[in-house]
Symmetry: D2
Subunit: 396 residues, 4 copies
């Protein structure tokens, strides 16, 4: 409604502006009994944080998270988890030229027009700095999912016209965090790195995209229609700053496929599916199972148990040193501007943990709505509430 809340049973509510005091996120709906420390959250924050490499902004934010509530003696209590990340390196001064002269393709003008004012120091609420909250919330969602057999990962599959398509889920897990671009194909990553450098040297920036995949999601999740899994993912991914396209399964390409070629036929799952690692929801030998997964894990808005995968396009960063024209509504004059400062020349590398966070937040919500996670506590099956009331207690 008001734009700072996401989720239905597992909700994140956020606040913070890029040059304010602090960023903050409240998690509602996290079951009790999840082992959780600030380090668990910090790990993902570090993947998103500025200053990781030469292709990210040099803003010096340690992005250290403090958990204010909802955790006791290392376990969640089932009550809301409040987290705060202080803004340490806000430098508002350099934004003064833009107070009344909107940077091209930023939210400067729309915010001013909407609110009659804006936090002029940096992007305010429209800054991607907000995503630090998402990543913090997503880290908790991921941890819950992991304990329920769901694994998810994203990587950068395109920068400019350079594309990395032939990668497996295993590749993504193995390779994507090993290069600055976060691309699972090391060779393409190298080329992407060079392309980014070129744009950066010219004072320009370039777009790209992120591929995501989730495995182990049980079948039967998702409510038909407005809240189908793809609809909720659509909202989640289009909320990512700079996102201009969302696809799942064959995505945009599907328009060129004939029905007979695209349809996934059915077979019975073979013995090999019946491995001991499988969660209870995975198809067992003799269960119907699609022969392929062009449907991206979703049919009729509901999960089939196959991997859920898709892609998000992020346009080039709008803050560039290259000269552009704008107007100053106070002086009434046109003027040339250069957005010099600490900006990323490309967004997908730092966007990877953001996309993973939104995917995790969306999926944990569906798991709760589908009754696959006990809403009250991690360590019990739903329905077995009657034996345990074992508060954590101090060590003696």
């Amino acid at each position: 409604m008001n734009g700072n809340r996401f989720g239905r049973l597992f909700q994140v509510t956020t606040y913070g502006e890029s040059h304010g005091e602090a960023m903050g996120v409240t998690i509602s709906g996290c079951p009790a009994g999840l082992e959780l420390t600030e380090e668990n959250v910090q790990r993902d924050l570090d993947r998103r944080k500025p200053g990781q490499s030469m292709i990210t902004t040099s803003r010096g934010e340690p992005d250290e998270v403090t958990i204010n509530s909802g955790v006791q003696d290392g376990y969640t209590t089932g009550t809301p988890i409040g987290m705060v990340i202080q803004n340490k390196d806000a430098q508002s001064g350099k934004y003064e030229p833009f107070i009344t002269a909107p940077r091209p393709s930023h939210g400067d003008f729309t915010y001013s027009a909407k609110f009659g004012t804006r936090n002029w120091g940096g992007g305010g609420r429209s800054s991607a700095r907000e995503t630090v909250n998402w990543v913090a919330g997503g880290a908790i969602a991921k941890k819950i999912l992991a304990e329920h057999g769901v694994e998810l990962k994203a990587h950068v599959n395109q920068i400019g016209d350079l594309r990395a398509d032939d990668v497996t889920f295993e590749d993504i897990k193995q390779h994507s965090e090993k290069n600055e671009v976060r691309c699972a194909d090391p060779d393409t990553a190298e080329e992407m790195r060079e392309l980014i450098d070129e744009y950066q040297k010219e004072g320009d920036s370039i777009g790209g995209s992120i591929y995501f995949e989730a495995r182990g999601v049980p079948r039967g999740l998702g409510a038909p229609r407005f809240d189908s899994v793809e609809a909720r993912l659509g909202q989640a991914m289009m909320a990512v700053p700079a996102s201009t396209a969302f696809e799942f399964g064959l995505g945009k390409e599907a328009r060129e496929w004939a029905g007979h070629d695209r349809n996934d036929e059915w077979e019975f799952a073979s013995e090999s599916n019946d491995d001991s690692d499988a969660s209870g929801d995975e198809p067992r030998a003799g269960d119907p199972k699609p022969t392929s997964n062009r449907h991206g894990g979703l049919q009729g808005g509901i999960t089939t148990g196959e991997p859920i995968y898709g892609e998000v396009t992020l346009h080039a960063p709008t803050s560039i040193p290259k000269t552009q024209t704008t107007v100053d509504w106070e002086t009434g004059e046109e003027k040339d501007v250069q957005v010099v400062g600490r900006h990323d020349p490309v967004l997908p590398p730092r966007g990877v943990p953001v996309v993973e966070a939104m995917l995790a937040l969306t999926l944990v919500d569906f798991m709760l709505l589908g009754g696959r996670i006990n809403p009250d506590r991690m360590d019990d099956q739903p329905g077995e509430y009657d034996t345990a009331y074992h508060p954590t207690r101090p060590e003696t």
Copy 2:
């Protein structure tokens, strides 16, 4: 939450299965004083209805709407509007072969797995028949928008690999309803028609896409972040049956654009903008105005006042006469199936009013949330509540 509600201040809540008694939709949040008849709604239902042409299913549904509440003496009363559309030509019998043998790429299996049962006669709730409710609700949204200066329209811009790009908003309004394909370029429409015929003859189907555009949307609408205009549109459009991709502005292509090329610079609106038809929210002479609209009318999640445009991809219909393989979970055997019946060989032509409906529902919601529409009545400015309490009354 439960998948049958869309919108925040202007809400549609729907029910109905393709082979049940009736479809129904409840509209909440429609201001009082809107002139409204069943004919206003019927017009759009007729654009969506089956049996319009050779390239749509021949199911014989008149799709006649009955308004049960919320309208008196031809005007809305401000209370919920309940509408019902009877299902007249349901033929469940031909679906019997599929009761325990899921049609490839349908929701048959996921519904059964989720609910342990399903409305086996046709697609049930996952059928695109549900969109009759959306179109009914969208017709009311469009009418409100029109009275507030917002105009919107969609057309089919691609079928298979045939694309119609060079069309203006005026073309769309003039030409798209004049051919069965609903493409604004008559020549391409003709080619598309032929391509569809080819697939249909082979017992196959083909995908395509729909372009949409809205004009006159005031600037300053939309809440930053999770409920940004693009995020809400993302949910709306990914909810459309068979949708696999959503884009706005440059969309997926943006990944290949440099920042300097993509950014829209600012100029001052010239005199020519100051025309008398402009709504109060349009830029006036001397107002900042982007020199181009690669941002698709949205910056920082908020409207700029420029046209909002984007694209939705719909995969090929999954119901095809061509032979496919599936399994029967009762007999435990594989079998060949042919989905013969009354099915569309292509979805975009009938999807046009559906996409328009979702666009209208999304925008009217933002107009209400942004205070641009009086939530209580059409005929007054907000704040001027003190003079009028003029109930409609019977003619004497």
Copy 3:
């Protein structure tokens, strides 16, 4: 939000005005596999319907429900259930005198002031006729609850200054439906009946209250704070037309109790609690159990497993034949009015099924949120989704 929706996971969305075409209600979130017929719903509608006795309005509404969707072959399908109840005996004519002259203490003026218009034929949306929708939805909620061991019942415990306090839950179940007043104490019921007659003869009306109780609600339901069980019940019961007070446990009286007297101490549940009928959530021998239930089944906003009970006060009907003064805003003159027509002289007797419905709707929602009911289907435990996909099928 818009006032016509109640519930979070189990939602009712309603429409209808007292003198419109029809009333309608959509149920979202009902699990699949619930045996359900129109008769199940009709039974409660008949308890609420007008013309039952001399102390209810004589408006001749059969209140026959039609189920339009969500049920197949006698079982729910898990998809939204749409129900419609036609208005058959609307007589708008007699409301003409009040079009511009508001009846005292009705919503006539507030509706006109808010919407600039109103459905002038009767109370429109503010009419208690709307509660027919609630009772229809509540009947389904009750059925689900019953299959999960929750039983609930209400009765009239006060009319004017006549009070029936010494009744047990068993009394309520046995006696309350056996007299027109729906009071569980037959002697008091008789007195109440006489009191009502007196007011009715004078062209006047009288207030009263309803006591409600639910048994078998498992402990551990309810989220702390804004959505505590008492907060949600507070909303539910204050939404009942003519409701002016809501209490639970000791209610208003609690203000005069000392802490030591009011507090419920703890003991261990004895063997006798360990009966085989107990649901899994009831305290077993050796479980902590409160020695009394002055807390009305709720502590810290969460259920204790003890009976939930409380009381709702309904003011006297505002429609009375006795002469009252109002103003006509068209003529600018004061005038005397008599609201002659078909009106109840007292509300609680017909309010009993309404209060039960709101109680049931609230509780089923908490059961779903607390993971005590499988959100997808009735016949399975959550987590056991992998074996059954057994669509209903036609008899052969």
Copy 4:
């Protein structure tokens, strides 16, 4: 949903447990341009804070608020306002005896049963400490309301059987903050003070109630039915810790009134109503106006413009030094407990700002929903968005 959010367009989302790191509240939906400092919020926090007098707990919490976002240069920016209040004087140790032995009538057992654990140091999330967040949010709501002509105030109208009825709104404003009990009648306040002392000396506690009133609320606010003003107030007030009854207008007493006596007749507002201070929504000379206000400002769920008033009952504090019996579920033994610590002997005096906060939060939400407050900014009328985009800027 998850219990830590209240409001629809103006939302508070809270976190914090009585013995955790900090309490926190996020405000969404506050328009830009509201002058706001931490002092504005602190003023109300000081009214609620512990240690104010001999009849409040001696826990030493300064309750100092920090605003982390949403305010720049002394004005709100329209983006979420994040506030944090550190817990400074948490003393968990003294709660150790109760870790596995629930205090009578506390949430100790229900929390443990629900979550399988709990924050055992103090009341955790069920502690009234949470209301510090509500008061912080309510302070902002009050400030917005004040700028739109709405004034509200509460006072303690009953402690035990001592009642203060004959007080005016002016009395409440003048006298209630001048005594420790916060009762507007100084003589009764004195008696109440003595009564509280008596209970405190005995190691016991006592209940009471709070009367609230709001003036200047424009007519025509509120959506019919489930979200009627009284329904939303019912939820708001029943969420207040220890609340067991909510009433408005005649409240519970209404059950004994005849319709003719209770109904409020209509007259035309006289000249004297037409004073220059009146907001645009107040009745002007010649407008229909009720001759009395037994309806408590609400008819058909919608405001009439008359004062909104009602009452909330709070039971006696459950933490008392007097000996009580409980069980220890670890040892399996019954035992006597004394809840010695820092506890209030009575709740209403500190509850007054809490009730005011919930009233303010509820009303500001209705004002926004009813279009009476510009959702985007304080200084403009809705619809006049086109002239101003004047970001705040640094002083030079």
